[in-house]
Symmetry: C2
Subunit: 345 residues, 2 copies
């Protein structure tokens, strides 16, 4: 029975007719929905245990009346960033940013030529930088991430990320994001999830580009931070970034960051290193159905292959714990049809 026939049969009075139109419209729309639904929202995921774990989990927590149903406001999903949403090799993008900034700022700091850690940075001596230890890194962060307003820092990051390239592949950093994870974020959001980034990286290094890159707005980004201070002014106040670490959002800091910023316990968490262990533990030990997943970098042809021995993003303890904790391991090689947007399989 077509909508035309429905109209002629049912429309007797004007109000009845309006509801008949409504019914007919919904009938027409719902017969159309399967056509759209057939386009797989996780098309870059190969059918396998990882993809099935995601689809089953989402179906279970979104089915009203199911004992594991979770109302929309409680559907919190958290993603690590470096190595989980984009590549972190051969070095964290934020570290590359800091080193670039030292070079840009060097003309105003002639003393850096003879002072560590800057001397090593200026001569591209990565081992020399590493030898300066945590103190050296803190000095680099202080010099490059503090001493300006939050608005100025946002501008610096925005300009830098527009052209920043991976030193090994020569591709734009913003192009080395993981297509399957973009689909996963969109799929979760379409199913009523609130999606957050929970990263060891600097929160104000990420916020300027996460919305355009991942569809995750600034207020849904949690990260490490330095202290800030408000400078009052009747016409042009500012927020000044201070050279002092405030919060390290890594390891046991991640559940704390989640509690501080969201105040709700996630039901799904995604990471790729031991720095995500506690976030996965906190998420998956909660009551009801939970999902914990680890991205395993095992595809040297299309991306990088590393885990236990890597200096950055070491995956060791979490990989061992995965089977007994019920965390799914995502093989980039076997579970992902493509890795980067618009790339070949």
């Amino acid at each position: 029975m077509g909508p035309h026939a429905t109209m002629q049969t049912v429309c007797r009075a004007s109000i009845q007719c309006t509801s008949a139109i409504l019914v007919a419209l919904f009938a027409a729309l719902s017969s159309a929905i399967p056509v759209f639904a057939e386009a797989d929202p996780l098309a870059s995921w190969i059918d396998g245990t990882a993809k099935r774990a995601i689809v089953d989990f989402v179906a279970t927590v979104t089915t009203e009346g199911s004992p594991d149903f979770v109302p929309p406001g409680e559907r919190i999903a958290t993603f690590d960033n470096d190595g989980t949403l984009w590549s972190e090799q051969p070095m964290y993008v934020q570290l590359a940013f800091a080193l670039d900034r030292v070079k840009v700022m060097a003309p105003n700091h002639p003393e850096w030529k003879d002072t560590e850690p800057f001397k090593s940075v200026l001569s591209d001596d990565i081992k020399g930088i590493a030898a300066t230890g945590q103190k050296g890194v803190a000095e680099i962060v202080a010099a490059t991430h503090a001493g300006m307003s939050a608005a100025q820092f946002e501008r610096i990051v925005t300009d830098w990320i527009a052209t920043a390239k991976n030193p090994e592949t020569g591709k734009l950093d913003r192009a080395m994001i993981f297509q399957p994870m973009l689909e996963l974020i969109a799929y979760l959001k379409a199913n009523g999830f609130d999606v957050f980034i929970v990263s060891g990286g600097g929160v104000e290094f990420m916020r300027p580009w996460t919305e355009a890159t991942y569809g995750i707005p600034a207020e849904n980004v949690i990260g490490s931070s330095i202290k800030m201070k408000y400078r009052s002014n009747a016409s042009d106040p500012s927020i000044i970034r201070l050279p002092e670490v405030e919060f390290v959002d890594d390891g046991a800091g991640k559940p704390v960051g989640i509690q501080k910023f969201i105040g709700k316990r996630p039901i799904a968490a995604f990471g790729n290193s031991d720095g995500d262990f506690e976030m996965l533990e906190w998420t998956t030990t909660g009551p009801g159905r939970r999902l914990g997943m680890i991205v395993h970098h095992d595809d040297p042809r299309r991306e990088f292959a590393y885990d236990r021995k890597s200096e950055f993003g070491r995956l060791d303890k979490a990989l061992d714990a995965a089977p007994q904790r019920g965390w799914s391991v995502i093989s980039m090689k076997d579970d992902w049809r493509v890795i980067f947007p618009n790339s070949e399989p």
Copy 2:
């Protein structure tokens, strides 16, 4: 021309018919819309300069093509809580909570009978508590707000707020919320704003009830905080609240809290005391059209009357600054038809 006639005239082929139904439906719906729009979303606001300032502002920033148009993701509005969304007299609700907790916990702390500040709390000696100064208050906060898990604290607050009453009026604290502000929050949300609470109060004291009370979810609540620590455990990890202040979200702390948690500058801010001065300044000095408003407690008959001389929520500097800063002052007496939900005008 009724929708029935439209159908008969236009429906020749099935696809054409479907679009005709769609057109008819939208026509029917849009003719219905003015009926709903006539219900004033700000019904508790008396028509006057304050209400006009709100409506004009919202119309301006939501009109596409207008030079002051602000896209939805940037429409950030921040509200102070105590004295702005609910009553703060004769004492902050959170202070009443802390004092109640001391009494509940006292049987396990026999030494409190002879130790300040607890001795004064147990004998309802407010002046005695005040005499112990900031150190005394810090001890009360440490004893009542720390030493348990975040989940346990949430349960304590939830149970307490369910029956907590204002000591002067005998009404439930949760009933002493401002109806015009509830309407304002809903109005802003309906117009694509993201609404946040930015309060000097403890963030984890507010989060358990803000969604049910104001329609503002936990993740949109910014407040003062104490430090927390993650306690790892394979089956039952927890987040422990430590007796150490981490962040004071008041005065110059408010713009910093906004930057930390939202990472975006508000375009509208609402407060009622000098503790909101910097938030109002930070909000209203940004580029484009901005809105800053101050709730003035000038209605002793229906609520309380206080400003410059009050011990809590002092409004002095901000009241003087309002005219030159372009901040609107909301008179509770003259601008609000009713103050509390379901109350008489």
